[in-house]
């Protein structure tokens, strides 16, 4: 133990000296003191070293493998750490790993069938025991155990097994070639749990270990003092944290409950809290709260895109459950949305800039791509959508034979362009719905709006007619994104055979039920294309097929948005990983 502590003490000395030197240098250079504080940790004697964080959805457990909710994953990221995570620019950085394995450094095998992680030496758990490869292997096996119902399952897709080569080397082998093998143990979704603590909590016993699940021992900057399910968590600094002098904060309170607008108020207007998570509120409300001058908005653009999904199958309610919204090998086309001219017209009619202004303000941007980021994957072929063109939309509809009827609604052969448009309940979404309804009205398309409780809409209960998979409507709207920085799995979800239906228990992922043979072929190609220009080009082409066919109509690129108190420094919003990823650097 003592030998482990010694190097840290010797390290601490020069560290402090560096700070002093830089401080003087910075003052000479004429920088404001604020910027120095941004860069370095300068502890002062009388300071508030407690931070209050507000999540309007309360945290239900500290074990992210048992609940994959964003709130649980982010709360757990204060305590548990992965081998590597993504920084705020989307780049991978080692955490418990000594370096990121690549093909160049030999970490990724040439046949792409395995990845070998080298772990940092001398990392200890908060209880003082050493962190070893055994913990990593245990974590992987914990999640892959069939009876756990592990929510991070997807990160371990195609994993064959884990092997501890020695105390600080782990190899993960895959059953198929993985051009991007950074699924397991990368990002806050798959942090390492302590083998010793969870050894009796595997399989069926996993949910019964309440003490362990509510108070996991970790290697991260904080440890759990008290956990109240769905209410509040108290943390205190982990004095064995591997980086000297960190975390700056001594204690953290993470409170849950309420709604987005009142969380924003607690930071921006009353100043009771220092940080509030996920503020999807109308821009004018946010601006007005900002005017109180107590806080600021922090945001980062990841891969969240609010999109319209256009049903390619007939969703008429008079059809029975054996036909309604089912692909049936293309024999059940939508009466008018199967016409590409109509879909193109619907997209052309939408003034996306207006949607951004009314519902998102600076926390949203117009996007014409379903994969808007990272930059290497963002296509530039669809920028035409930025300018709405209702005249062109009308022309297209006229050309396709859809002519306005007596009531102003276009029709052809007795089929009226009348759309049922559904989304989940959320005041910003209902605003967007109303705006789009009016835009479509101007080109002669009638719209009926419907909003469904989020728990039902995204719930996936096969008995419910209102889920987004059932899609008993013509158009639906929601936001989705992908984990990490590679869109392979995200886009593979839209292949033809993934159309939801009774044969796959409505678990399919191709909501629009749109089919393109070229797209399906590219999915297979992408799965074996190594990281590089060729991969980027294939992914962009796939994005273009989906967008140009208007199966999905991208609307808004949404930022992860939170609020921080002005006194709280060091917050760097990270849309690629846990928002609280650098909480050890937060200071005042």
């Amino acid at each position: 133990m003592t030998s482990m502590h010694r190097p840290r003490k010797t390290l601490a000395m020069p560290y402090n000296r560096v700070v002093t030197i830089t401080l003087t240098a910075a003052m000479v250079a004429g920088c404001g003191p604020d910027e120095i504080v941004e860069e370095f940790v300068v502890p002062e004697p009388v300071e508030n070293r407690h931070v209050n964080i507000l999540y309007w959805q309360a945290v239900s457990t500290m074990n992210p493998y048992l609940s994959g909710g964003t709130k649980e994953i982010e709360a757990a990221s204060l305590v548990l750490e992965p081998l590597a995570n993504y920084d705020d620019s989307g780049a991978m950085v080692p955490v418990l790993a000594a370096e990121i394995p690549t093909r160049e450094n030999g970490g990724v095998a040439d046949d792409m069938l395995s990845i070998t992680w080298r772990l940092k030496q001398d990392v200890v758990w908060a209880d003082g025991t050493p962190f070893t490869a055994r913990d990593v292997v245990f974590t992987g096996e914990y999640c892959l155990h069939e009876e756990v119902g592990c929510s991070a399952d997807a990160s371990f897709t195609d994993v064959d097994g884990f092997e501890a080569l020695d105390d600080h080397t782990v190899r993960v082998t895959f059953s198929v070639a993985k051009p991007v093998p950074y699924g397991p143990f990368v990002g806050a979704v798959t942090p390492i749990i302590q083998a010793e603590q969870f050894k009796d909590c595997t399989g069926l016993r996993a949910p019964e270990c309440t003490t362990e699940n509510f108070g996991p021992i970790g290697t991260g900057p904080f440890k759990v003092d008290e956990f109240r399910a769905n209410d509040v968590i108290s943390f205190s600094a982990n004095e064995r944290y591997r980086e000297p002098g960190k975390p700056w904060m001594k204690t953290v309170t993470l409170k849950g409950g309420g709604d987005a607008a009142s969380s924003a108020r607690a930071v921006l207007e009353t100043g009771e809290y220092d940080y509030a998570w996920n503020l999807q509120v109308e821009p004018e409300i946010l601006e007005q709260m900002l005017a109180a001058g107590k806080g600021e908005i922090v945001m980062g653009f990841g891969t969240n895109v609010e999109r319209l999904v256009i049903n390619q199958t007939n969703a008429d309610s008079s059809l029975g459950p054996e036909r309604r919204s089912l692909l049936l090998d293309g024999t059940n086309p939508h009466p008018f949305l199967s016409d590409p001219q109509v879909r193109r017209a619907l997209s052309l009619a939408i003034d996306r800039q207006l949607l951004v202004e009314a519902g998102y303000g600076r926390t949203g941007r117009v996007t014409c791509n379903i994969v808007p980021a990272p930059p290497v994957y963002a296509s530039t072929a669809n920028e035409g959508c930025r300018e709405p063109d209702p005249e062109e939309a009308k022309r297209l509809l006229d050309e396709a034979g859809w002519v306005p009827g007596a009531d102003g609604v276009r029709a052809k052969d007795g089929v009226r362009l009348s759309i049922l448009y559904q989304t989940s309940t959320n005041s910003v979404r209902q605003g967007t719905q109303a705006l789009i309804k009016q835009m479509w009205q101007q080109i002669g398309v009638e719209t009926e709006l419907r909003n469904i409780d989020g728990g039902v809409f995204f719930g996936g209960d096969p008995a419910s007619p209102d889920t987004y998979q059932k899609f008993y409507a013509d158009v639906e709207m929601y936001t989705s994104n992908f984990q990490g920085t590679d869109p392979e799995f995200y886009m593979a979800a839209w292949v033809c055979e993934e159309a939801p239906g009774p044969d796959n228990q409505w678990l399919g992922t191709n909501m629009s039920r749109g089919c393109s043979a070229e797209f399906d072929a590219l999915v297979e190609e992408l799965a074996v294309t190594p990281y590089g220009e060729q991969r980027f080009a294939t992914a962009k082409r796939m994005n273009d097929i989906v967008v140009q066919n208007h199966f999905l109509i991208p609307l808004i690129w949404r930022a992860s948005t939170s609020a921080r108190a002005k006194s709280l420094k060091g917050v760097r919003m990270n849309p690629w990983d846990s928002e609280l990823w650098n909480i050890e650097d937060w200071h005042r």
Binding site: Q57, A58, S60, T61, S67, G68, G69, T70, V148, G149, C150, S151, D153, A154, A206, P207, E208, T210, N213, F214, R228, A229, N230, D231, V232, S234, T253, K255, G256, G257, G258, S262, R265, E269, T270, E272, Y273, A292, D453, G454, G455, V456, F457, F458, G459, G460, D461, A463, S464, D466, Q469, Y478, T479, N481, Q483, Y490, A493, L507, G508, T509
Partner: protein, 337 residues
């Protein structure tokens, strides 16, 4: 009376079993799903596995029977064990009612939530009654006086403006503009001395008043109308004619006879204290039983909802019985046998 109570209590057992079955069936039919709130990045196959690990793929009767066993046998045994520090049978293999969301025993979470709910909702109920009864009596006694008019106006506005609005106005006024009171309730706060008691008072004052205002509005209307009904009855005239003092007439005779609808209201209201106040708890983040229930409903946490609503049903049945007994005491002419 004793016979009546015994009969009612015996009758309560099948009633409660029927209620528990109805609740379970309802929750089973409802379209929400425990994986509904997970991020969309989690693929459907994983969701199916999660559902399976929760036991949702088992048949309805099996799940119901399991809950019955856990709730009526295992949990009480567990309580007894904890209370008397003994071990009955094989306590390790007894399964408890486990929440889908937190994967922890439901009963423990309910116990954790009880203090804040009793503080806020319970106190608001007491305050509400204390405001409502005098207002109701005075506005009936001095019908159409300015006091009555103001009372009517305030209570009608109080009832027609929902708590999500009064709560918001209170926060903007007292937390944002005046900065007197906190808008977020701290459930970890412990009262140890005078100063911490003062902090507690400050943090409960807004939710308590908002709720009390709403409850009082309703109750005072029933009180007023009931007193009005009685003031014109013959026995009041007789009592006055006999030279009884006005105060005695009002507080002894009229009040007692006007209490029946009010007792009903109060008895119906007490179980709702334990049901929590969903909206008010959300606004002020009191995170009591109301918030627990709504979060559980939204997340389709069936064991949690089932247990909470069943406890709620027990209280309803119990307090309705108490109300019936009180009717008999208030008005001896009411006979049950």
């Amino acid at each position: 009376m004793i016979r009546y109570i015994t009969r009612r209590l015996l009758f309560a057992v099948p009633t409660l079993i029927a209620i528990s079955f109805a609740i379970f069936a309802l929750l089973d039919l409802a379209p929400s799903d425990p994986t509904g709130q997970l991020p969309l990045t989690i693929p459907p196959e994983t969701r199916a596995q999660i559902r399976e690990s929760l036991g949702l793929d088992e048949a309805f009767p099996i799940r119901y029977a399991k809950w019955m066993e856990q709730f009526f046998v295992n949990e009480p045994l567990n309580l007894i064990e904890r209370a008397f520090d003994v071990e009955i049978g094989d306590s390790d293999s007894r399964t408890r009612v486990i929440s889908y969301a937190t994967r922890s025993p439901v009963v423990d979470i309910i116990a954790e939530r009880m203090p804040q709910t009793l503080w806020v909702v319970g106190l608001s109920y007491v305050v509400g009654i204390l405001i409502a009864l005098p207002i109701g009596i005075v506005s009936a006694y001095r019908q159409y006086s300015w006091f009555d008019q103001v009372g009517t106006f305030v209570s009608m506005v109080g009832f027609s403006v929902p708590t999500f609005f009064t709560g918001l106005v209170a926060i903007i006024l007292f937390s944002v503009m005046l900065e007197w009171l906190p808008s977020i309730y701290d459930t970890t706060h412990r009262v140890t001395d005078l100063a911490s008691f003062w902090v507690q008072i400050k943090q409960i004052i807004m939710p308590v008043m908002v709720l009390a205002f709403y409850n009082a509005a309703q109750l005072s209307r029933f009180m007023r109308s009931s007193v009005l009904d009685n003031l014109n009855l013959d026995y009041v005239r007789t009592a006055r004619a006999k030279g009884m003092r006005e105060r005695a007439v009002l507080l002894v005779h009229v009040l007692r006879n006007s209490m029946i609808p009010v007792v009903t209201m109060i008895a119906l209201g007490i179980p709702t204290i334990f049901g929590g106040a969903i909206i008010t708890e959300q606004i002020f983040r009191v995170n009591g039983l109301g918030q627990l229930l709504i979060v559980a409903i939204q997340g389709a946490d069936i064991p949690m909802v089932q247990t909470l609503t069943f406890l709620f049903a027990v209280l309803i049945v119990g307090f309705n019985l108490i109300a019936d007994v009180l009717y008999g005491i208030l008005d001896p002419r009411i006979r049950y046998d």
